[in-house]
C-alpha cells in the first residue's frame, strides 16, 4: 500500500489494532470457518467517519504545502 516505505512490525500493528478495537473504530468479523490465527477486521461506521476526517485533514495539509511551495517558486 505504501510501496514499501512504511514497514510495520507485528508488535506495532497489533498495538494499533488493539487501540482501534478499544475505540470502536474497527470490529472483528465473526466467521465460523475462519481459524483462530486468521481473524478478519472491518471498519465500523465510527471508524469510517474518523477515516474520512483524517483524509480531509491530510488533503488540507497537502493543499497548504502545495500553496507554500508554489509561493516560494513564484
Amino acid at each position: 500500500m505504501s510501496g514499501g516505505r512504511v514497514k510495520l512490525s507485528t508488535g506495532t500493528l497489533y498495538g494499533a489494532l488493539r487501540r482501534l478495537l478499544d475505540g470502536a473504530w474497527i470490529e472483528r468479523v465473526e466467521e465460523d470457518e475462519s481459524p483462530r490465527d486468521r481473524r478478519p477486521y472491518r471498519l465500523t461506521s465510527r471508524g469510517r467517519r474518523n477515516l474520512q476526517l483524517e483524509v480531509e485533514r491530510m488533503r488540507h495539509l497537502t493543499k497548504l504545502a502545495a500553496l507554500r511551495v508554489a509561493r516560494k517558486e513564484a
Binding site: 507485528t10 508488535g11 500493528l13 488493539r18 487501540r19 490465527d37 486468521r38 481473524r39 465510527r46
Partner: protein
Amino acid sequence: MLSFYRWLLYLYPGLYRREYADEMVAVFRDVQADVSAGSFKERISLRVREILGLLVGAVREHIRIITGSDQSISFRGFNVRSEFRFPRSTVFLMSIIFGGVILAMEKANTIQVKYAAGAGSIWPSLPWFLGFTLLFTCAAAMVGWGILFALGRTGTHRLANIQAGSNGTD
C-alpha cells in the same frame, strides 16, 4: 526465529497474549516467509524491527495497564499529562523496590569493606571500571534512542492523538 518470537510474546500481559498472540505469530510467519528469499540485510532488518516492535509494544501494554490510559505518557515529549495519577499499588511496589536498592547498597558496602581488608578493591582497576561504565551508558542510551525512534517511525502516537480528538467530538 519463530520460537524466539513466541518467547518474546511472553513479555506481553496475559490477556493481550491470549487475544492476539496466535494472530501475531501467523502474521510474523507470513512476513518471514516473504523475506526469506530476500537479501541478508532485509532478513536482519526484519528481525531487528520485529524484536524492537515487540519490546516497545510490550512496554506500552504494561504502561497502559498500570496507568489505565493509552495517552498518559508521551514518549516523544517526555511529558506526563496533568491528570496522570499513580495507582496505590505502584506506590507500594516502588517502596519495595526502593527498600531493595537500599539493601543491595548495604550489602555491596559490606562486601567492599571485606575485600578492602583482604585483597584490595573489588574492581580490577579504575580505567576498566570507567570503561565499563561508559560502555554500559552508551548501550543504555542506544536502546532508549532505538525505542523512541521506533515509536516516532510508527506514528502510533499520532494515531492515538487522532483517536483522542475524535472521542471528544463524538
